[in-house]
């Protein structure tokens, strides 16, 4: 019982409008979204292995496509996964009411995520497009389909981060009201976690 709630009682009994943590509808909603998104990636990754093992091709990738290099993807992985740290600090910060940690954490997470996406679009794709395109063969379709889908999720995460930041700067969050921050952090960690599946499927599995 905070002092604020006690004040309320003197004038009018008001039921709380807002909750955070696992009591918030938003938390449940994000859980639902993550469940369905995880299924989405699961189905696409299943497509990858189904097609790899029914394609009848002894070599994978088929055709003249070289095995994916590992240097750039591992750098991208480091950048993407490290972005979860400031996002986590922002989330845990606002739970203690630390506005500065919230704003800096969200900004750092945004910059790291944007860097990842920029590398994918401006460095990785131009390189791979020299070698193969989505229409070259089924490997190309799968490569761009899965990495593109993940990239789109990073882009949505950045959008999500943007409005969370706008609201952070407008002072909408405090130690009691921060469902949006909490949801953004959950989504962002999910997008980072699902990258493990993409990394394994696209970049590591052809080497086995």
């Amino acid at each position: 019982m905070s002092a604020r709630a006690a004040d309320d009682r003197s004038t009018e009994v008001v039921l709380p409008h807002h909750t955070s943590g696992t009591r918030a509808f938003g938390w449940w909603g994000m859980l639902g979204l993550i469940a369905t998104e995880a299924t989405l990636f699961g189905a696409l990754i299943s497509s990858y292995f189904y097609l790899r093992f029914t394609s009848g091709s002894v070599v994978w990738p088929p055709g003249d496509i070289p095995k994916p290099s590992l240097t750039l993807p591992l750098i991208m992985t480091a950048i993407l996964w490290s972005s979860s740290i400031p996002v986590h600090l922002a989330d845990s910060g606002i739970k203690k009411g630390k506005q500065g940690r919230l704003k800096v954490g969200l900004l750092l997470g945004f910059i790291l995520g944007a860097t990842f996406l920029a590398i994918q679009i401006a460095v990785e794709y131009p390189e791979t497009l020299h070698e193969f395109s989505p229409s070259t063969n089924v490997y190309g379709s799968l490569f761009y389909g899965l990495t593109g889908l993940h990239g789109a999720h990073v882009a949505v995460g950045l959008l999500f981060s943007l409005w969370t930041q706008v609201r952070a700067w407008r002072g909408h969050f405090d130690e009691r009201r921060h469902v949006t921050v909490q949801n953004f952090a959950m989504y962002w960690h999910f997008v980072d976690a699902v990258w493990a599946g993409v990394l394994f499927t696209i970049y590591l599995s052809p080497h086995f």
Partner: protein, 625 residues
């Protein structure tokens, strides 16, 4: 106001406030209005899909029919299937869920009212998007399950509309699924434990979970199809290492749960209607609930029975044959529950009751022909014949549609305060029942006689002429029954009998509030002490075990206390409809991927993005004063 102590959220826009008048429907977040909009829209699509069916039946009434050419016929049967599945049965179920779930669990609204409005608008725009293909060079024409590689080799934009239209409709379904799961888990009235929930709420929960995990699977299939068609990817192209069978696996891994997504809401409706008109609680509540949940789990393990003839091999075929036979068990449990509910009851044969009994009878036939399909060699014989068409119409029309109409007649007085005419209702039922059997009964025989589905005409002397004519006559009888229903609605609006809060002497919470319910549903949050709580408020048991009416028991709310204690309600919002507008624009952008298309893509993305930003940044409801 106490909330003034919180940091205020002044948005960039003020929220719309009006909750009456025709414009309020565009921005409403009230689950009851959204439920009505869902049902009305779905009914319009029912008429459209029905007209397509009439055209198909007219073409097939006689050998060498010349009413439709092959091209138009293909578009009509494809659109008939897509319409009835994605634009009629699913949204009618969702409409009833919208209207009823908060009322059945004693809540004010759903968990995410704006998301709910967004679902509706996305569904409507998705449907319009799909139908716009008729004016843009031809509708989808590859069948509702659009098998690869045909789905990517068909010329024109039809199948691209299919890939994107279903994708848009999937967004609506997913948003709805998340909404219902969270509403049911979190917003039940005090005392409404999970095993006190009405069966319809349980079936909604199972359906929502099925949607949550089935929609992403077809999303992947459609995503791959879209890339194949629009951007020359090769997912299903065997010459480039792709595999057409991947489409079938993904499609049916979605498609079989989809069958349960369509039938479970109807099963829930029937499970609430039968006890009311039998004067008994549902027989074996736990069994019927767990059977529903079991169907929800087992529905994931039977998909390959749609693929017995694709050469999966005897081991896979046997496994899927067994799992398919096995799923008939929980379904059978439910049927015995319904029969047990009626057994020894004091039955009242009202229109909703007739539709529910019709549901059980027709569903048994459809279910049994389904079991015959589980036998792989038998299925190999029936694959792609009219026998299959008979089976799924008995399940989805005789089952789902009859169940939904039962629900419409049952809850109509709750939603509109007036009872639909019983006399016309019974005419409607018997016409539909006869017309239905006349149309789809002969399909069994036609199928066994070898008539393949999806042929636009046939020659004389195949022994199919008489049965086809019979079926066409039946289709027009069904159309007549739909007209009777429309007449009933119009007449009821003009001079229907006032319903009062509880016209059926019913059992569940929605009947304890006024008809139609106020915006806030319940003045006092109901405290639930029993399953069928409202019934227990009205009746006690005499020492002989007979129900006796409690004097002044189960009093229902009246309109006198309209104020509703200043109950906090979510405000209307502009942004769900704005955000939904962007999605079809994105769809057209992909279809016409030239400079205009790219402009449309940018525009669609901007509209959706702006809609979402407006949504997130609009002021909270409590600051509107």
């Amino acid at each position: 106001m106490a909330t003034a102590a919180y940091p205020t959220r002044r948005g960039f826009f003020t929220r719309p406030r009006s909750t009456t008048g025709k414009w309020s429907w565009f921005f409403t977040v009230d689950h009851k209005k959204i439920g009505i909009m869902y049902c009305v829209t779905a009914f319009i699509f029912f008429i459209v899909g029905g007209l397509e069916a009439l055209a198909i039946r007219s073409q097939l009434a006689q050998p060498n029919g010349e009413i439709l050419n092959a091209e138009v016929y293909n578009q009509f049967f494809t659109m008939h299937g897509l319409t009835m599945i994605f634009l009629v049965v699913m949204p009618m179920g969702v409409g009833l869920m919208n209207y009823l779930v908060p009322l059945l669990i004693g809540a004010r609204d759903v968990a995410f009212p704006r998301l709910n409005a967004f679902s509706y608008w996305v569904f409507l725009f998705g449907g319009i998007f799909l139908y716009s293909s008729f004016f843009l060079g031809g509708a989808p024409d590859g069948g509702w399950f659009g098998y690869a590689p045909l789905n990517e080799t068909l010329p024109g934009h039809g199948m691209t509309f299919y890939a994107l239209g279903l994708q848009i409709l999937g967004v609506a379904s997913l948003a709805g699924a998340v909404n219902f799961i969270i509403t049911i888990i979190n917003m039940r009235a005090p005392g409404m434990t999970l095993l006190r929930m009405p069966v319809f709420v349980w079936m909604t929960l199972v359906t929502a979970f099925l949607l949550l995990f089935a929609m992403p699977i077809i999303a992947v299939a459609l995503f791959e199809l879209m890339f194949d068609r629009a951007f020359q990817a090769t997912f299903f192209d065997p010459t480039q290492g792709g595999d057409p069978l991947l489409w079938q696996h993904l499609f049916w891994l979605f498609g079989h749960p989809e069958v349960y997504i369509m039938i479970l809401p109807a099963m829930g409706i029937v499970s609430d209607v039968l006890p009311t008109f039998s004067g008994k609680p549902i027989f074996g509540y736990n069994a019927i609930v767990f059977a529903g949940a079991a169907i929800g789990f087992m529905g994931w393990g039977v998909w390959a029975h749609h693929m017995f003839t694709t050469g999966l091999g005897p081991v896979a075929n046997s496994a899927f044959a067994l799992s398919t036979m096995f799923i008939a068990v929980p379904t059978g449990v439910k049927i015995f529950n319904w029969i047990g509910t009626m057994w020894g009851g004091s039955l009242r044969f009202t229109t909703p009751m007739l539709f529910s009994i019709g549901f059980i009878a027709m569903f048994i036939i459809g279910g049994l022909s389904g079991v015959t399909h589980s036998i792989a060699p038998h299925d190999a014989q029936q694959q792609d014949t009219y026998y299959v068409v008979a089976h799924f119409h008995y399940v989805l029309f005789g089952g789902a549609i009859f169940g939904l109409f039962s629900g419409f007649y049952y809850w109509w007085p709750k939603a509109f305060g007036k009872l639909l005419s019983e006399k016309l209702g019974k005419v409607h039922f018997w016409l539909m029942f006869l017309g239905f059997n006349l149309t789809f009964g002969p399909f069994h025989v036609l199928g066994l006689n070898g008539m393949p589905r999806r042929i636009y005409t046939y020659v004389e002397g195949m022994g199919w002429d008489f049965m086809n004519l019979l079926s066409t006559i039946g289709a027009f009888v069904i159309a007549l029954s739909a007209l009777v229903f429309i007449a009933n609605v119009v007449i009821t609006r003009r001079r229907g009998e006032e319903a009062g809060a509880d016209p059926w002497d019913a059992r569940t919470l929605e009947w304890s509030t006024t008809s139609p319910p106020p915006e806030y549903n319940f003045e006092e949050i109901p405290i639930v002490r029993h399953r069928d709580d409202f019934w227990h408020r009205k009746y006690i048991e005499t020492p002989e075990g007979e129900p006796a009416r409690v004097l002044a028991g189960g009093a229902v709310a009246t309109h006198e206390h309209e104020a509703g204690h200043g109950i906090h309600m979510p405000s209307p919002s502009y942004f769900p409809i704005v955000a939904a507008t962007g999605l079809p624009l994105l769809g057209y952008g992909v279809i016409y991927f030239n400079s205009t298309g790219k402009a449309l893509l940018v525009l669609g993305a901007l509209v959706t993005m702006m809609g979402l930003f407006g949504w997130v940044l609009e002021p909270g409801a409590e600051e509107r004063v």
